[in-house]
Amino acid sequence: MRHTLTVLVENTPGVLARVAGLFSRRGFNIDSLAVGRTDNPAVSRMTIVVEGDDQVLEQVNKQLHKLIDVIKINDITKDAYVDRELVMIKVYAEAATRSEIMQLVDIFRGRIVDVGRKTLTIEVTGDEGKIDAFENCLRPFGIKELVRTGKIAMLRGLKPGTKNNGYKEEDMV
């Protein structure tokens, strides 16, 4: 089963290497990992999608916790959450297909961010399913380049334990 973890980490130089290394070293299967800093510049937040049964996930959780830089881990898979991914697709667009592509962009509420002589570059955000669907729709036209951010996620409403600042900012050195 696929699990979505949100992980708060100290924003230190080695932290990404530590987390990524742990997954490969222990043979955990990572689907995607997205990371960026939070409203607290000393803290980064990772969204990690990982594949495994309950026992594997328990180990993922515990091993992550052993990293000194990891502050908090939440497995939000079973909770109500919003998730988004952003994709940019550069697709071949001849005069004959351009309008059809633009219609698709409209339907998926995407945006055209660059227009080339023979290509359009399109940006779409959404959950994984939507992005997959969009990619499938464009495939017949010929995709030249595609880049996805990996999923980021957040619990709905005000649930405790998901805020970044379980501790004070001046604590951070």
Partner: protein, 556 residues
């Protein structure tokens, strides 16, 4: 007043009450060595950095304090890695300081640059690359805290040369924040209560004690637990010494080369109480056959160890001593008379034995058995890795923890001599006995010079089978006796070698020769090297073959 970061580092070590550090200098670490000039901290110059790490490790194992070692960038740092990994696997508190090329050169493949923080991520509890000299005191403070608390382990600090020379205002911090590091010491009360109920209901309990008992200083509590509920105690390699070896409830080691009665007791028990142990594959062998009828209670400070290898019915995360202190008052005295009798019978029926066919042949087991009999009661025994190590674990008995040092998790040949140097310096006045194979001893043999310089009266017993004995045994069992790369054709005269390093050197080839010398050697104030020429094709038995249950160990 402003001082250099290097000077600040030394002052931090002094504040942490570091008395001794082990290392070898080089270009990138020069400012730190310069700051060491005139310091109260004693520096022990090793002959290879692996020796520095193992010595710091041995020092830490004997004293319970944080061991400190230091090396230069590049090759100095990489030479430390085996020693760091060893400390990591056996949960030894250690702070490692490495020099690094100047920050302006980092990332350019500069002379003697290696990414030592990158290399050691998997084998340290944590590590730091110092990028701002003002952060150094805080980093040192955190490093000592992380290394010595929770499940201990090595922490590395990589200090670029230019940073080390920069001036800072020095103040050693009192407080620090580690928001992601909060070890659990107290066991969950309801779990402890449930454990007490399970234990009281059990009729055939066994305690399985590991290195965590020593680390948390819980030997007294363990003894009380065992005696209260009349549970026999088996131990891991790391747990040897945590429970008195002369106690009627003592079962000896379990697992791959464990005693048959320990393995049978675990297989037959209805309640297995694991304290500070981690169900290593060398202990468990085939998972489905391990303690198949037991309710498993697992007490450990590291939550990641619980449920990792074996299913646990009752996990208790916490410091072993703290948890046992909470558990003991909830238990009533019970005697499990039938079980105790059964254990006694198992011990009688399955003693540890070896054959002494001829009187003129020296058996390795005999050497170790006699060493055990004749060693002073506060002696420290340090082993290397291989057959001799397993025999030592089988035949050596201790009344107290921290007397038996061995490389467990990593099984690193070469551990013995440098670890003994650290142990000798950590416990002056105590007899330090080394039991080493002729193979492993040669991996760090250069530290004989360090031992000589430090005037350590080490008693070194080379169990010389002229072979890589343990590997020979594996080839016998698993590869149809197709022996390859296990015989030493060059006959090294260890006694003469010892004499070259200023030791007394002896060669013994028969039981009689050994027994003539042994009492005198162990009482002697000088360092002694004994080359014990033992029979070459002994096997460590019993042995649990790969993929079988621990109660199916073979005897030949």
């Amino acid at each position: 007043m402003e001082i250099t970061a290097a000077e600040a580092l030394i002052q931090c070590l002094e504040k942490e009450e570091v008395k001794i550090i082990f290392g070898c200098p080089g270009g990138a670490i020069l400012p730190v060595y310069d700051a060491l000039y005139g310091s109260s901290i004693k520096h022990v110059l090793v002959r290879h950095e692996q020796g520095a790490a193992h010595a710091a490790d041995g020092y830490a194992r004997v004293t319970g304090k944080v061991g400190v070692c230091i090396a230069t960038s590049g090759p100095g740092a990489t030479n430390l890695v085996t020693g760091i990994a060893n400390a990591y696997m056996d949960s030894v508190p250690m702070v490692v300081i490495t020099g690094q090329v100047a920050t302006t050169q980092v990332g350019t493949d500069a002379f003697q640059e290696v990414d030592i923080t990158g290399i050691t991520i998997p084998v340290t509890k944590h590590n730091y690359l110092v990028k701002d000299p003002r952060q150094l005191p805080m980093i040192v403070k955190k490093a000592f805290h992380i290394a010595s608390t929770g499940r201990p382990g090595p922490v590395l600090i990589d200090l670029p040369r230019d940073i080390a020379s920069r001036k800072i205002k020095f103040k050693y911090p009192k407080n620090f924040a580690l928001p992601g590091y909060k070890p659990t010491y107290k066991g969950h009360p309801s779990m402890v209560q449930q454990a007490a109920r399970v234990i009281m209901k059990s009729e055939r309990p066994v305690i399985y004690a590991g290195g965590g008992v020593r680390i948390s200083g819980a030997s007294q509590e363990l003894l009380k637990l065992a005696e209260t509920i009349s549970a026999p105690v088996t131990h891991t390699l790391m747990g040897l010494g945590c429970f008195p070896g002369d106690h009627p409830l003592f079962l000896g080691m379990l697992g791959l080369h464990g005693t048959r009665y320990a393995n049978l007791a675990v297989t037959g028990c209805d309640c297995l109480i694991a304290v500070g142990a981690r169900f290593d594959d060398r202990v468990v062998s085939k998972i489905s056959g391990f303690a198949p009828t037991a309710r498993v209670i697992h007490i450990d400070i590291d939550p990641a160890e619980i449920g990792k290898n074996v299913r646990t019915h009752l996990p208790i995360v916490g410091d072993v001593k703290t948890v046992l202190e909470a558990l003991l008052p909830l238990l009533d005295k019970k005697d499990n008379a039938a079980w105790f009798e059964r254990i006694e019978q198992l011990k009688l029926e399955n003693p540890l034995v070896y054959k002494q066919e001829r009187q003129d042949v020296l058996k390795p087991q005999f050497v170790i058995e006699k060493l055990n009999q004749y060693k002073p009661c506060d002696a420290i025994v340090v082993t290397d890795v291989g057959q001799h190590q397993m025999w030592a674990a089988q035949y050596m008995r201790f009344k107290e923890p921290r007397c038996f040092l061995s490389s467990g998790g990593l099984g690193a040949m070469g551990f013995c001599l440098p670890a003994a140097v650290g142990a000798g310096l950590g416990a002056p006045g105590r007899t330090v006995i080394l039991v080493a194979g002729d193979g492993g001893f040669q991996m760090t043999i250069q530290e004989l010079a360090t031992a000589a310089e430090q005037n350590l009266p080490l008693k070194i017993f080379i169990i010389n089978n002229r072979k890589l004995g343990m590997v020979r045994q594996l080839q016998e069992y698993y590869h149809d006796k197709r022996y390859i790369a296990v015989d030493f054709r060059f006959n090294l005269d260890f006694a003469a070698l010892g004499r070259m390093y200023g030791m007394e050197g002896y060669t013994v080839e028969t039981p009689e020769q050994l027994m003539e010398l042994l009492p005198g050697i162990l009482a002697s104030p000088v360092p002694v090297m004994v080359n014990c020429i033992v029979s070459g094709d002994e096997n460590v038995l019993p042995m649990v073959l790969a993929g079988t249950n621990i109660d199916e160990a073979v005897d030949k």
